[in-house]
């Protein structure tokens, strides 16, 4: 499949522009701060003492400031959900960029780690320089207490030093627990260490107060390198002469200064900086705290569970109701059940959203880990006690359940294309189930004109989760004289034995059930042929293999002039 430039730009262009802008901002900030400390007159004496270590450490600190503030923004999920919902503020391109918010968060995190390494290395050299090049001329510039002090003591007895070590340790814990491998195998380690970020930010604000690096305040009355009469240079024993002072390079000369020819009017005075980090970090930190507070208040009322239905293949459906809860099809919620685990929250996509006619909403959850197992045990009646407890079933006590959300997801865009291709793998059908429920409710009000629905499952029984919904929607659209609106293809990837859905009411599905895996290229050609020169939205929620293939196909040569725009839903 040859890469086609137009398809690639339609799919990947926006992301790469943002990447280039972000890299450019980092580079510019690094360069600007480096040059400031290298050649600005107010840092002349400090630069002479510390050398390149000063410039590199301050430049990397400014990049760290930028990334520490940017890293919080993609995690303000409610704010992003609001932005996604307002079509006036954002175009479809903007909403597609928001699908990649977690990737941007990870990029900023990696940048923080890399530049922390640079910053720490430069400051290690600075500590040595403070110790070895202790300055008797300008005692207020020193951090060491005497010449030759052990650099370890310099670091461990100053506020910025101790906070710096703490920051590195917290970053170490957070970073090592964030790899893909750990997130997949034990999510709790990732979750609990990542919540140390609040400690990280508090310590960072203290670290920035520091005050170890000072700038000269009276550059006009004491131009750097000026001639100081009546002072003896402690090294040579003669009066100080600028040319004899150790010069670290031609660029040492103060810019635009004729300091060498002038006489100092007064002694140099030094002062510590205002902590710049506070200006960078406080905005996003306040925004994030406000967002968490809002989410906490919104999720403080428990939901009322209306019904629990058990489906084949280890899936249960939970229907609930909550006051003033609004959600759009495709969004997901985070469940917290204190009887199972007080701190854990698990995300589930809504399969049915509340509408004007019906206030209940529902999720389908597959029992896979220990949280879902315990939750299901609490919800479903004990099968051994069935025969005796018939009158008691009505009074079943469901556990208390809190939900956080709803949060936006890429699948909300299905309605904003004229033609959409929805590919689901197994339980990944849940976002599309809510879309189909919304279409069943009222399909005329959306821009969507045609939807191709591909559902690949391993077992036949899985299709029964939504067989009724699919047949009902198919029936309704036939009756409304739109037979080409909804195109279903069901694939059973486990090809053993003759399997079919034999029930009479599922006849529409059994005739669209195919054994084996879908052939994506042929499917794309078929869709391209039937929708020439249109923009088709491709939505995939399923295993990585399928999504990679689809992504590659969307970037390849255009079939019949049709552009396929790829939108991927991610589960973790």
């Amino acid at each position: 499949m040859a890469l086609s430039w137009r398809s690639w730009i339609a799919n990947e262009g926006g992301k790469h522009i943002i990447l280039v802008v972000w890299l450019g901002a980092n580079t510019w900030l690094f360069w600007r701060t480096f040059i400031l400390y290298y050649s600005s007159p107010q840092y002349y004496y400090l630069h002479k003492m510390l050398g390149l270590g000063l410039c590199i450490s301050r430049a990397s600190a400014s990049v760290l400031n930028l990334n520490s503030s940017l890293v919080l923004l993609p995690m303000c999920r409610s704010m992003l959900t609001c932005l996604r919902g307002s079509h006036k503020l954002m175009s479809r391109k903007g909403r597609r960029l928001m699908d990649k918010s977690k990737t941007f968060h990870m990029a900023c995190g990696v940048a923080i780690c890399v530049f922390s390494a640079v910053h720490v290395s430069a400051h290690l050299v600075n500590a040595l320089s403070f110790s070895v090049r202790y300055s008797e001329e300008f005692p207020s510039l020193n951090v060491a207490r005497h010449r030759g002090e052990d650099p370890r003591i310099i670091i461990l007895t100053t506020v910025p030093g101790v906070t710096g070590v703490l920051l590195v340790l917290i970053l170490f814990l957070m970073f090592t627990a964030s790899s893909y491998c750990i997130r997949v195998s034990s999510y709790e380690i990732f979750w609990y260490t990542h919540n140390l970020f609040i400690v990280f930010y508090v310590v960072l604000l203290v670290h920035a107060i520091g005050g170890a690096l000072k700038y000269q305040t009276n550059v006009d009355t004491h131009p750097p390198g000026c001639f100081r009469p009546n002072r003896t240079d402690p090294k040579t024993g003669s009066s100080a002469h600028p040319e004899q002072e150790p010069v670290l390079g031609a660029s040492e000369l103060p810019v635009g200064g004729d300091g060498f020819n002038s006489i100092c009017k007064e002694e140099a005075r030094f002062q510590a900086h205002f902590p710049e980090t506070w200006l960078w970090v406080s905005g996003p930190l306040c925004l994030y705290c406000a967002e968490r507070l809002y989410r906490y208040v919104r999720s403080s009322t428990p939901v009322t569970i209306v019904s629990v239905v058990s489906h084949p293949c280890n899936v249960i459906e939970v229907r609930m109701v909550k006051n003033s809860f609004k959600a759009r099809p495709g969004q997901y919620i985070v469940l917290n059940c204190p009887s199972v685990s007080s701190l854990e929250g698990h995300p589930f996509t809504l399969t049915a959203c509340p509408t004007e006619r019906k206030a209940t909403f529902g999720i389908h959850l597959r029992v896979v880990g220990d949280w879902t197992e315990r939750f299901t045990e609490l919800l479903l009646p004990d099968p051994s006690m069935d025969s005796e407890i018939l009158p008691i079933v009505n009074q079943r006590r469901y556990p208390k359940l809190y939900i956080d959300g709803p949060f936006g997801s890429p699948s909300e865009e299905v309605f904003n294309y004229e033609v959409s291709l929805c590919v689901a793998g197994g339980i990944g059908v849940t976002p599309f189930a809510s879309v189909l429920n919304a279409l069943l409710d009222e399909w005329q009000r959306y821009k969507l004109r045609r939807i191709y629905f591909i559902w690949v499952c391993r077992e036949l029984q899985s299709f029964y989760w939504f067989a009724d919904l699919l047949c009902a929607l198919h029936q309704k659209l036939w009756q409304d004289n739109r037979p080409d609106y909804f195109n279903i293809q069901l694939y059973l990837s486990n090809a053993e034995g003759l399997q079919n859905m034999s029930e009479e009411r599922y006849r529409a599905l059994s005739s669209r059930l195919l054994i084996g895996r879908p052939r994506w290229k042929l499917l794309f050609e078929e869709i391209g042929k039937a929708n020439k020169h249109k923009r088709v939205g491709v939505f995939c929620c399923g295993p990585k293999g399928i999504s990679k293939t689809l992504h590659k196909l969307c970037n390849s040569n255009r079939f019949f002039g049709t552009t396929f725009e790829y939108n991927k839903e991610s589960f973790s």
């Binding site: 390494a117 720490v120 290395s121 290690l124 050299v125 500590a127 040595l128 052990d150 650099p151 370890r152 670091i155 070590v165 590195v168 340790l169 170490f172 814990l173 970073f175 090592t176 627990a177 790899s179 893909y180 491998c181 750990i182 997949v184 195998s185 034990s186 709790e188 380690i189 220990d370």
Partner: protein, 186 residues
């Protein structure tokens, strides 16, 4: 909490700590710190720890994700047998390796990070975990397609020749009109 595999996190931490120790050692040597010999030790120890920790172990439950190119190192680490697969030994090794890092500034961070990794390894060892190598599976599946490509060795079963020959008592049914007239010499 019952199913967490601590060894996986300890492995990531030890690898990162090895890199931090290596970086600190390089800074110590390049910056010409006093007692730079400790920094040189940091470089050597950092490289050794990275090589030891690079191959990821196999998970007890679920699929294990390999690091790229870890096969050669897996074979090397496996060759040491119980020394490397026991996590008590690894915890003690890391605790011993981290001590010299505390003597000069650049390697202090590596020392602390390695100490934390050693503690997590101890926790993993207490819970009974041990290192198993991820090796590619060598079983070959019986491929149905292969046998289809071979031509059949024997002809298909047929009834014996007597039954296939036309029977003389049913001459009426056996008769047919030859479409081309057959006459002799005309």
């Amino acid at each position: 909490m019952g199913k967490i595999e601590w060894a996986m996190w300890a492995n990531e931490q030890a690898l990162a700590a090895g890199l931090i120790l290596l970086t600190g050692g390089i800074v110590g040597v390049a910056g010409q710190f006093r007692d730079w010999e400790f920094a040189a030790y940091g470089v050597a120890a950092g490289v050794f720890i990275c090589l030891l920790e690079y191959p990821r172990g196999k998970r007890n439950k679920g699929t294990s994700v390999e690091r790229t190119g870890q096969y050669c190192l897996t074979v090397c680490v496996k060759a040491f047998g119980p020394v490397t697969s026991n996590y008590y030994v690894r915890a003690a090794l890391h605790a011993a390796l981290c001590v010299p890092g505390a003597f000069i500034l650049p390697t202090v961070l590596g020392c602390v990070c390695l100490a934390i990794a050693s503690l997590i390894y101890l926790a993993a060892a207490v819970r009974g975990e041990h290192w198993q190598p991820i090796l590619p599976k060598t079983e070959t599946r019986e491929r149905v397609g292969e046998s289809i490509k071979e031509p059949p060795q024997n002809p298909p079963p047929r009834p014996p020749a007597e039954l296939r020959r036309k029977r003389p008592e049913d001459l009426e049914g056996a008769a047919y009109v030859n479409p081309i007239s057959v006459t002799a010499n005309e």
